[in-house]
Symmetry: C2
Subunit: 236 residues, 2 copies
Amino acid sequence: MNIPEKEPHLEKHFKASEFIRDVVIGMSDGLTVPFALAAGLSGSVSGTNLVVIAGVAEIAAGSIAMGLGGYLAARTDREHYENERKREQREISEVPDREKEEVAEILKQWGLKEPNITSAVESISDNPDNWVDFMLKHELGLEKPQPQPQRARNSSLTIGLSYIIGGFIPLLPYIFISRAQTALITSVIATIIALFIFGYIKGRYTGYRPFRSAGQTTLVGGVAAGIAFMVAKIIS
Amino acid sequence: MNIPEKEPHLEKHFKASEFIRDVVIGMSDGLTVPFALAAGLSGSVSGTNLVVIAGVAEIAAGSIAMGLGGYLAARTDREHYENERKREQREISEVPDREKEEVAEILKQWGLKEPNITSAVESISDNPDNWVDFMLKHELGLEKPQPQPQRARNSSLTIGLSYIIGGFIPLLPYIFISRAQTALITSVIATIIALFIFGYIKGRYTGYRPFRSAGQTTLVGGVAAGIAFMVAKIIS
């Protein structure tokens, strides 16, 4: 963090892995629901044409809900942070003593003792910017949003597009194979493999055990598809 | 935080609002994609029977992806936290000096200065439990998971069930009205109103401006439905 000469490198590394993480999140989610919906419908409709129409409509709806929804939520988070920042800035200039007491309370919870607390409060409140950051993070639990707004936009776009690409993996067999049952079996095999691979990569990029993540992603997709199939059979 | 005599009350308040928050999150998400899918399909299929089958299959798939997926993710988070906790415990007993340097580094970033840092490090590392909590939170950025595992399970169940209830709001008109166009118009009006109401409540329970949240939730649902409608029309 305190090594400015290395920042360009770190920055690049951060961007690359953020991008891959977004791709994997969008793709593994995009695989799940379109897969389950297509599998669910395949037992209840004749021919694969309707499965494809419903699948494509789901991909359109899901990618917009995820991409646009995520983008608007990130924008709201950023504005919320800016507003809270202004409010804290006002508070430290209007009621500095009360704000110092709040810093002292936080330090006390972490196990600091007097007279350390008083002098630590003084060094933190010495620099108003630093003081505001401290209050936002430790009093309100707000993390700094990404420095550039376009990164949030790119991230949402990547997730939305990856959802679309992921969603077409289970759908392709229904597009190219006209017999519903053959298409279903091909789609199930292809998607289970894809869910496992993306679950594995997702685990690697989100810091968890990759095989466990692979198993969970596959399980959720499989259970969702199985239940959608049963439910559609019952009501059709 | 430090008012133990009031804890039972706070606990109750926390539980009630957590529950409502889960209901609103599940319901506003459940409204969006089933709504968009049903609206999308209604322009491309004759009769409302297929819209209902596809909608119900989507609700089954989406609620499982959200509920089971959320539950497994929360369980993984909890285990990840426990593992990291054990690792930190090992580190503070095996390499206490290096761990103390890490505490000092964090305090320095917050603006504390020597000799405060050294004595603050001593008081934090005085209590090993406190020291481990400090490292988990401030070195690794990990928040303590919910104290009881069943709360994570209940939360996922609430979200999943609310998704199902939310999903049936746009579907009901297609179940009771056989003419696709009339069902579509009724569904659009009912869902836009429901999205607005749930977006508003969601904003209140997640700490943002309610009318803004209402507008965004409605916008995402409306855009998703509009594009799903167009896409389904084009390919059918």
